[in-house]
Each structure stands twice: as structure tokens, then as C-alpha cells.
Amino acid sequence: MKATYINPIFIAAREVFRNMFSIELERGDLRVDEKIVPNHVINVSIGITGDLNGIILFSFPEEMVFKLVEEMAGMEFKEFDTFMASAIGELANIITGNAMSNLSESGYACNIVPPQITVGLNKSFSTASKKILIIPMQAGNKSFDLYISIKE
């Protein structure tokens, strides 16, 4: 697990949040763990195949997902449903896709697998690497986490 993956992923996330929501993402201190135990309820995992293998998992608090989707849709939602899951899944999909095209400039050719959304705490996720990198992200007054488990 190399730290060289981190920046292209962060840059992709920062650009998408800036363009779509006018939010300036800030990166917290990196953490390392041996498994993925998400801190938040709504988790979107995206598989990566090709020169790199593994997953990137976006762990969002429910409140943040409501805020983002409601802002995009311009309407209010009562509960987390398929529509919301699909909208937030696409957001993670776009960020990961952009991250992979950033990484292709460093010579890694990868594809991504469509997002899988899980709701709830205490879910487990299978990982590709022994070490998981966790990037805490500050998005205005909200925060979410990125879990990166990738090997070459």
C-alpha cells in the first residue's frame, strides 16, 4: 500500500466537491488500520481492478448524504431510499473514476466496478491489502472518511 495513491484520490474528491457543491474539502491526518470498520452509517464501496486491485470505501454520515442529495435535487427527502443510495453511489463512482484517470498518468491502468451501498454500522468489508489507509475528510462543518485498500 503506497502513499502515492493518496494524492490522486484526494485531488479527485476535492475537485468534484468544489465543482458540484462549492465545498473545499480538507484532508485530516492519515490513519492506518488492519480492517475496515466504518465510522458512519452510509457506506459506498467501489471495486478497483487492473494494475491496481482492491476497494475504496466512502463512509458518510446520514445527515451529510441528505444534505448533498437534497441540494442536488432541490427537494426534501423523508428517508434514505433507493434514489438517495443511487445518487450518493454515483458521486463516489465519479470521484473514484476521476481518481483512476489521475492515477493513469502515473502509469496505472485500472477499471472500476459499480458502487455497492451498505447502510448501518458494524458491517464488515473484505479487503485486498493488509494495511488500510484511512483519510478523514472535512467538508465544511461535516466530515466523512475514505478507506483505501489497494495492492499492486
Binding site: 475537485e15 468534484v16 465543482n19 458540484m20 462549492s22 442529495v69 442536488m72 435535487a73 432541490g74 427537494m75 431510499d81 433507493t82 434514489f83 438517495m84 443510495a85 443511487s86 445518487a87 450518493i88 453511489g89 454515483e90 458521486l91 465519479i94
Partner: protein
Amino acid sequence: MIWKEKYAIGVEVIDRQHKELFERFNKFLRVVRSEQSMEEKIADIEETFNFMGEYVIAHFDSEEAVQRKYNFPEYERHRKIHEDFKKDVMEFKRKFEENKYDEELIMQFSGRLLTWLINHVTGEDQKISKYINRKEEE
């Protein structure tokens, strides 16, 4: 989905079309998200979906024409994004025709479409704007 002035790319015809596209998508979204039963809203879903779908295709054509006019260097890449999107919409349409009462399918598609459209307009389409502005400064 609300149009914001900051989404404008500065090419009048495109901005006008983007606004129209947002309006049409909104009509579709309001029907999809209404609390009516599928039986009650299915005809409206079909109508607003077709109304939006036709417009997307016409809009992509004129956006691509603008890119050619300005020799936009990422033209091929952008055209491919449009083509992939059209395929995606056709794929949805095919599944939808098979079972018009599959609410999960409609929710899944429209949620993804919402994020896709906003990202496309604020990301890819803004690149056209930046390129044209740079070119005009020269």
C-alpha cells in the same frame, strides 16, 4: 435540480439549453418523487422521461458542434462521455419497457442521473468554458 448562474459556461446557446435541460429533468424528478402510486404516475413518468431524453440528444449535438467550432482539444473524449451516457439511457429505456412498474429501477436510474448531470455540467462542460475563455484572451 436547481440551475445556478455559476453553472453557465458563457456560450449563450449552451447555457440556454442547460437551463432547459434542468427544467425538463426537474419535471421528470417531481413526477418520479411524487407520492402517487406507480399506476397513477406511470404515464407522467413516461412522458417527462421522453420529453427530457429527446432534449438531451439534441443538446449533446449542439454542444459538440460548439466544441468543433472552437477546436476544443478534448472533443473526442467529451463526445465519448456523451455517447456512453446515451447508451446508459437507452439501456434504462429497454429495461423500463420490459417492466414499467419496476419502481426500484426508476429510482435507481433517476438518482444516478441527478448526480451525473450536475457533475457533467459543473465538471466536463466547465472545461469547454475555461478553454474558450483562454482562447479569447490570446
